[in-house]
Amino acid sequence: MGLAERILAGDLRAAARLMRDVDDGFASALEELKVLYPHTGRAYIIGITGPPGAGKSTLTDQITAAFRLQGKRVGIVAIDPTSPFTGGAILGDRIRMNRHADDPGVFIRSLATRGALGGISRSTGEVVNIMDAMGMDVVIIETVGVGQDEIDIVRMAHTTAVVMVPGLGDDIQAIKAGILEIADVFVVNKADRDGADRTARDLAVMLEMGKRQEGDWLPKVLKTEASRNKGIDELVAEFENHRQHLFSSGRIDHFLREKCAVVFSEMLKDRLFSAVLDRITADGRFNSTVESICQRDHNPYSAVETMLAEFLNRPATSL
C-alpha cells in the first residue's frame, strides 16, 4: 500500500514520512500528493504570525486546547529558521506544546525554513494538505518569527492572526505597509506588560484610518496573556466570526481561487526553472554562460532570451 492510502487509513508514520519526502523534495512524493489531493479542502486553516518571542507558540498551544474542548482535531505546522551557514536548525516550538504530544487528536510537525524568506517553508502548503487529508478539522500554521514583510501566510490561511507585543514601536510602525496589512485579527499578547493599552490603541487607530467598503471585514484588536490562558476564548470566537464572514460574504470563493492560482503558478515556475536548469547544468552551458557574462562577452539579458527561445521553440526576437 502506498503512503497516501496508508495516510487515508489513519497511519501516522506514513503521514510523517510523506511530510518528510515532500520537505526533502523527493519526486515520489508527487505521486502520493496526487492521490491525496481529492481528500483535501476540508480543514479550516489558521495562520499565526508575528515577531520572534511574541508568544506565537504559547498562543498556538492554548488555541489548540480550546479547539480540543470543542472536540475538533487539530494539526499544527510550526516553522523555525534554518541556519544560512550550516543548513542546520533548532526547531523549538514543540516545547510550548508538549502537553498535546500524546493526544491522538493533535498532530504537530516542526519545519525548518530551508532558505525560504516569506515566513513559511516551501513545503508548508503540502504539509497542510497532508494534515487536511488526515482528517484534521483545524490546521494552525505558526510562522517563523517575522519582521515587517514576510506575508506568504496570508495566501495559505483562511484566517491570519498577527501577534504583537507591547513596546516594539510607535504609531508610525503601525501605519507602515507589510504584515500589519494582512491581519484578520490582531493579538496584543503579554497584555499584562506596560504599554499594552498603547499598542492596542495604536493598532486600532491604524485600522480606523484604512479605507473600507460596505461589507468589508474589520479586524479587531484583542488582548491576550497566552501563558495565563487569558483572552483565548475571545480569540477563538473571533476566528469563528471571521470564518463565518468569509463564507456568508462569498469571499471564500475569491480566496480559494487566488490560493489555487498562486499554488499553480509557483509550482509551474519551480518545475520549469528546474527543468531548464537541470539540462543546462548537465551539458555545461550554465557554467560557460556565467563565465561569458562575467567576462562581458555576453550580457545576461540576451543569454536568457537565447535559452528561452530554445526551450520554448520560438525565435528570440518574439520574446
Partner: protein, 132 residues
C-alpha cells in the same frame, strides 16, 4: 536527486532540570547541519515517542542526569517497539555509571555517552551510525 536531511529529537526525560548539556549538544547538531527538534525539559517517555513519530526523526538523543536512566530510557525503547517504530535509534548522555551501560544497551540504547565526551565525538557518532 533529492537528499535526505538528518532529523534528530533532543529531549530530557524525567524530572531533573539541568538542560545545559542538552542545549550544547543540540547546538552542536545544528552546527553540523542537522535539523534538531528540541522538546525541552520534563518529558515523559510517551510524549518523547509521540513527538519522534510525528516528526519522523532518524534518532532520539536523550540527556539524563537524575539517576532515573534505568527506568526511563528502556521505557522509551519499549514504547518505540510497541508502536512499530524501533527503526528510530535512541542514544543518551549524562551521569550514567559504567555498570549500568550494558543493561541500557541490552534494553535497546544504541550508545551511551558519559561526562567528558566532546560534542565532536557525539556528532561523529551520529553521522557514522545513523542512516537517514
Amino acid at each position: 536527486m533529492a537528499e535526505r536531511k538528518l532529523r534528530i529529537l533532543v529531549g530530557k526525560p524525567g524530572l531533573d532540570g539541568h538542560d545545559r548539556g542538552a542545549k550544547v549538544v543540540a547546538r552542536a547538531f545544528r552546527d553540523a547541519g542537522l535539523e534538531v527538534i528540541y522538546t525541552g525539559l520534563h518529558q515523559p517517555p510517551e510524549q518523547i515517542v509521540s513527538a519522534a513519530i510525528q516528526e519522523d526523526v532518524d534518532c532520539i538523543g536523550l540527556s539524563i542526569l537524575s539517576g532515573a536512566h534505568n527506568t526511563l530510557l528502556p521505557r522509551v525503547c519499549q514504547l518505540l517497539k510497541d508502536k512499530q517504530a524501533e527503526d528510530i535509534s535512541v542514544f543518551c548522555g549524562g551521569v550514567i555509571p559504567e555498570d549500568d551501560i550494558p543493561g541500557l544497551k541490552a534494553a535497546g540504547l544504541k550508545e551511551v555517552f558519559t561526562p567528558g565526551t566532546s560534542t565532536e565525538d557525539i556528532v561523529a557518532w551520529v553521522k557514522a551510525n545513523i542512516a537517514c
